[in-house]
Symmetry: C2
Subunit: 200 residues, 2 copies
């Protein structure tokens, strides 16, 4: 596939500029991790989803609301101008179908997260997050998972507070389900136990 985008780098904490100079863009994450966020006017914050390498990022529909996209860690992504991308899609109907699939996969993840936020306990939420990160990062059982989020960001993703995340994560450690070599890494010791802790 011909490359049509340009590479862009984001330092941790930087927010992606949708309207770069003139026109909205879309892109693909190459390395790092982005967080899609929303917030209330009094400062309460919710992370709606994570973008990990390989994932698509962008405002595909002109009508869709633009959410804030911020780099959780230093990241590089490949961005296209929206207009040029639209032409390209127009010439490749297959691609539009693939995008539709991608959109629905994202929707499915959004729905899982709604179940998590609406009905899971604090312990189940942090176990679910660790499990998701373990599965999406494709690290083999027993390997160290890099956590692209601080405790505070995990809290904003899970609808909890920093302190509760910290307590529940150490509870999983005490139970022997995970090990925490350092605050930004985790090792799943017993994936089955983690799955049980995550669900119900």
């Amino acid at each position: 596939m011909k490359r049509l985008g340009r590479t862009e780098r984001l330092r941790a904490g930087q927010t992606f500029r949708w309207e770069d100079d003139e026109v909205a863009v879309v892109g693909t994450l190459r390395v790092g991790a982005l967080k899609i966020g929303a917030s209330l006017s009094d400062g309460r914050e919710q992370i709606l989803g994570l973008v990990l390498p390989g994932d698509f990022v962008g405002r595909l529909s002109a009508t869709g609301a633009a959410h804030r996209v911020t780099a959780a860690v230093d990241s590089t992504l490949c961005v296209f101008r929206r207009s040029r991308f639209a032409d390209f899609v127009h010439c490749n109907p297959e691609l539009e179908h693939a995008l539709l699939d991608r959109a629905f996969a994202e929707l499915a993840r959004a729905r899982d997260r709604m179940l998590l936020l609406g009905r899971k306990t604090a312990g189940e939420r942090v176990a679910s997050l660790l499990l998701e990160l373990a599965e999406r990062s494709g690290i083999p059982h027993g390997g160290r998972i890099a956590l692209p989020l601080t405790r505070g960001e995990m809290a904003d993703l899970l609808g909890l507070t920093i302190e509760t995340v910290s307590r529940k994560i150490t509870a999983l450690q005490r139970a022997g389900t995970v090990a925490l070599p350092d605050p930004r890494g985790a090792i799943v010791r017993d994936r089955e136990a983690l799955r049980i802790a995550a669900f119900a």
Copy 2:
């Protein structure tokens, strides 16, 4: 536009059959209200979204997870076989684009709901729901809004319990923000106050 679907009726409480006889289907809601639900194995339930008249319903992507769709009240919808629908879409590229837009609108609503579930208080949640129903049903200010949900279903949508929904709804009534002529109807007395109660 030529009609290609058949009409199907669902009584309140009935679950939509995805695999009718042979093949998955998609459709459009004509009258009534559907709830898209997910649940945990121990019975905890979460309503992920509402389908109101005019909305699209279906599993567009073969890869997307199929969620349970149940009629909240007696409903009628127009359904197509997936295969025939796919052909039709293939012949009308415009349509696929419209569907993509629709999917992103739904995603945006899903994200609003995540913010609600993760970060809003109980009172803000029920106010948000009443506001959404008022706005989506297009009833003028002061008119009676038909609530297509029981208190229990509202609770499952908002990630609360029946009792909490009941208490917060009567609190809004006591504040003069809404009136409750009967449990299945509501009148917004002060939309601005409701908006304030819903947000932050």
